[in-house]
């Protein structure tokens, strides 16, 4: 593994990390690396960097390593880490912020997670509400897992748990505008 020259990191890097932390009110220096976040994380077993290490990379200015990590994508945002942190570092929120930044930079260490989010928001933008059938269809096709969850279909239909036709918001225009506003706002940062 290549040595990390901490002195050669660009100032822009530090600014980006600071902005990232500031956006959720996190103070990175407050983390003293006790590891309690990792210890309680239900998903840590599947992560490449432990939650603690994601923060550590940010503390050191190693933003690229954090952005390329799978960990923020695997994070289930269960907030166990945040709730137990002795220094009140919002770790879950930090993971999310890293994931958002990676997403904007086109870095998608777990494509399926990216697709899920993408196709979750698709019916939302169209109808103002979630529509599981739309989501599942698009997701299954894009991820190549065409038959995922297929076996549950009969039971779902029987219990009318799956709507063939999506529920819609009356003022769909308002929701679409809202979502576009948010996209613009996020890009500004």
């Amino acid at each position: 593994m290549a040595e990390k020259n901490l002195s050669s990191l660009s100032a822009a890097n530090a600014v980006r990390i600071e902005a990232l932390a500031d956006s959720i009110g996190a103070k990175l220096h407050e983390c003293y690396q006790c590891g309690k976040c990792t210890a309680g994380c239900p998903m840590a077993g599947s992560m490449d960097l432990m939650p603690r290490q994601v923060i550590r990379h940010l503390q050191l200015g190693l933003l690229d390593e954090a952005l390329h990590s799978r960990a923020p994508w695997i994070c289930a945002t269960c907030y166990t880490c945040s709730a137990r942190c002795p220094h009140d570092v919002p770790i879950s929120e930090l993971m999310e912020a890293v994931r958002q930044q990676a997403e904007r930079a086109g870095i998608r260490p777990i494509r399926r997670s990216h697709l899920f989010t993408k196709y979750f928001l698709l019916p939302l933008k169209w109808f103002g509400k979630n529509h599981e059938l739309t989501l599942t269809m698009f997701y299954n096709l894009a991820s190549g897992r065409v038959l995922q969850h297929f076996s549950y279909l009969p039971a779902m239909l029987k219990g009318s748990k799956l709507k063939i036709f999506p529920a819609r918001v009356k003022n769909r225009e308002a929701v679409r505008r809202l979502m576009e506003n948010c996209e613009r706002e996020a890009e500004r940062i």
Binding site: M1, E3, K4, N5, L6, S7, S8, K27, H29, E30, Y32, Q33, L49, R52, Q53, R56, H57, Q59, L60, L62
Partner: protein, 660 residues
């Protein structure tokens, strides 16, 4: 013929329910030398004691055996009781038939037999007892404090304030020690000089304190309450009685010398005050560098001094005084890291400095007037690396122990750099961060908030490349190698005992551990006492510590001194070793094994074949002997014995048993 009285205690039913006390008394009555034997329900009670007193008078007893609970319980009670009778308090033996018999055995027959045996042993021993008398030694109400750092100053002030005379000996030309070199103190960041110089001045002006600077102790004899101490006054070449400290000599002196007070970061003159606020505020001449003293040329100071205080003929002087108590506050030095760490440049990079050098750099009265500048070129460093545990926790290269104060002053250094140099970056390489003190963890938190980047891992190598100091380490938290290009590196080096401190302590009979830190009498319960009664220690002489702990320990030592000086006389135990001088061969084994240095070999006049000769024999200092008996067991001629536990007494005990 001895007239022994034997009392068998029932201790209610504690003894009597298991041991047939009447049978024991009956058996005791038959033992040789026993005049009187009886039982008593509660021997330690007032009525029990009265009964004994009565028996002593009635039967003209001259010694006593009490079979009861452990002697650790009531030996003192019964000895006290005997002072009111015709029997010497030391003509008493106690047979432990409760804790070591009735309470641990259930078979009544066997327990009774054992009790008879134990009484038999005590009777055999008491027959060899001799009257012993406590003696008292006067206490000389004066205290010597060795070392004029903050520990010594604090101890001296506390003792002086209580009304006793103190002599404060310091080998440097001024008191103040390491604390006056420091800039600010953690975690409160108050200025070190601002809080220590008033204490120095107070010590300098206190009517009960006699300051002896440029002095060292060269010999200590005597014992608690009566130490004769020889103090060597090094030549100062300046008459401090007449000198006003005007400073003209220092100003005009043409010889410039490396200033060690500034950690070699500046120059001073050959006639100099240690630092501006020195106490006493008078100069001395550095004989190693003064051209007049070296080659007889110059003498400018002498010509200029308006009061004629310069005396190039000054000689060292020895002063002997008596003190009742001694406090050792000899302090610490920093290790010579350059020798131990060639991988950090071994001293060849001017911009790799020690923590104490940094203190001088950041100190407003230091060589740069408080501007943090690289010693190499005077430039302001923008990126600074601080390396902790340099020499500490490193048994392979230097010291195995933790130096305790470094974590905190490293945080302070980081804070000061970030505060004073705008846009600066500070990286602190550490192994652990230890902040056990009031407000310490909070200070560490604040330093990280200031922007200090803490990296867990030791620096492996520091080298210069392109004007930068490249520091290579691992961030063990992410498991990757890291490198920082620094403008300056501060090494937080380990403390070690001040040079010469173990020798000084040995002079006073105090030992040191393998690292040279002075050994306290007990690590938990007697932290400021030493194995030599009347000698106390405090501050970093005992081990690495920070200022609050040092000052607390100094006051603790002072409290111990005051407890001693408040007494007019000390009673000494009579159960000490005695030498049968005519039998002594002078081999000196006893002297080697004595843990308190109470035995010395002395020459005595003697006659051999009608001729006058001088013989070397052992002599016991009754003020020092603690009565362990190691000497007696080591003596090959059997001439040294322990009163109260003589060879004869113990052998009688051994012989007494299981005799038909």
């Amino acid at each position: 013929m001895a007239r022994t009285g034997v009392i068998i205690c029932h201790c209610g039913s504690n003894i009597a329910s298991v041991v047939d006390v009447e049978r024991v008394a009956l058996a005791a009555g038959q033992m040789p030398g026993v005049t009187y034997a009886a039982t008593n329900k509660y021997t330690c009670s007032i009525s029990g004691q009265d009964m004994i007193k009565q028996a002593i008078a009635e039967h003209e007893l001259d010694r006593l055996v009490i079979a009861s609970c452990t002697p650790r319980m009531h030996e003192t009670t019964f000895r006290k009781m005997l002072t009111k009778t015709s029997i010497n308090p030391y003509m008493l033996e106690i047979a432990n038939i409760r804790e070591q018999c009735s309470w641990v055995h259930t078979d009544k027959e066997k327990a009774t037999e054992k009790a008879i045996d134990l009484v038999h042993m005590a009777v055999a021993k008491v027959l060899k007892d001799q009257p012993l008398f406590t003696s008292s030694i006067p206490v000389h109400k004066k205290c010597l404090v060795v070392g004029g750092g903050i520990a010594g100053i604090q101890a001296a002030l506390d003792v002086a304030e209580a009304g006793y005379e103190v002599t404060l000996v310091e080998r440097e030309p001024s008191i103040g020690g390491k604390m006056v070199m420091l800039d600010k103190t953690f975690p409160t960041l108050d200025c070190s000089a601002c809080i220590s110089t008033p204490k120095m001045a107070e010590a300098g002006a206190h009517p009960n304190i006699r300051l002896m600077t440029s002095c060292e102790i060269s010999a200590v004899t005597g014992y608690i309450g009566n130490f004769q101490v020889t103090i060597r006054q090094k030549p100062r070449y300046v008459n401090h009685d007449t000198c006003t400290g005007c400073g003209l000599c220092e100003e005009k002196c043409p010889t410039k010398v490396t200033n060690l007070f500034d950690q070699s970061l500046s120059k001073r003159k050959a006639i100099y005050k240690l630092f501006p606020q020195a106490v006493p505020a008078k100069p001395v001449i550095d004989s190693e560098h003064c051209t007049m003293l070296k080659s007889g040329k110059c003498g400018l100071c002498s010509k200029l001094c308006p009061l004629g205080c310069i005396n190039f003929e000054d000689q060292e002087d020895f002063i002997t005084e008596t003190f009742g108590a001694i406090v050792l506050a000899t302090g610490y030095d920093l290790i010579d890291w350059a020798k131990a760490y060639p991988e950090y440049g071994g001293g060849k990079y001017a911009n790799v400095i020690s923590g104490l050098q940094f203190e001088r750099l950041v100190n407003a009265s230091g060589p740069t007037e408080g501007h943090i500048q690289r010693p190499g070129d005077g430039a302001e460093p923008k990126t600074v690396v601080i390396v902790k545990c340099v020499g500490s926790r490193d048994p392979a290269k230097a010291k195995a122990y933790c130096s305790r104060a470094c974590c905190m002053y490293a945080a302070k250094h980081a804070h000061q750099i970030l505060e004073k140099i705008e846009g600066s970056k500070v990286y602190v390489f550490y192994i652990d961060v230890r902040t056990p003190g009031k407000g310490y963890e909070e200070f560490y938190d604040k330093t990280r908030a200031d922007g200090a980047v803490y990296i867990r891992g030791r620096v492996s190598k520091i080298y210069e490349e392109g004007g930068k100091l490249i520091c290579k380490g691992e961030d063990t938290l992410i498991g990757k190698q890291v490198a920082v290009e620094a403008d300056m590196v501060v090494l937080e080096t380990a403390m070690e005992p001040a040079h010469g401190s173990t020798e000084t302590a040995a002079t006073a009979g105090v030992s040191a551990d393998k690292d040279g830190w002075l050994t306290e009498a007990h690590p938990k319960l007697r932290p400021v006492e030493t194995q030599t009664a009347g000698v106390y220690l405090c501050g970093t002489a005992q081990g690495p510590k920070d200022i609050p702990d040092t000052v607390a320990q100094a006051s603790a030592a002072a409290a111990k001194v005051l407890g001693l000086l408040a007494k007019d006389e000390l009673e000494t135990s009579p159960m000490i070793s005695v030498v049968d001088a005519p039998k002594c061969s002078g081999c000196g084994f006893c002297e080697q094994v004595c843990p308190v240095k109470a035995i010395s070999m002395v020459d005595v006049p003697s006659m051999y074949n009608g001729k006058r000769v001088t013989r070397t024999v052992a002599q016991v200092n009754s003020g020092l002997c603690s009565g362990c008996g190691a000497c007696s067991a080591a003596c090959r001629t059997g001439c040294i014995d322990l009163l109260g536990f003589t060879n004869k007494q113990i052998l009688e005990e051994v012989d007494a048993l299981w005799q038909e």
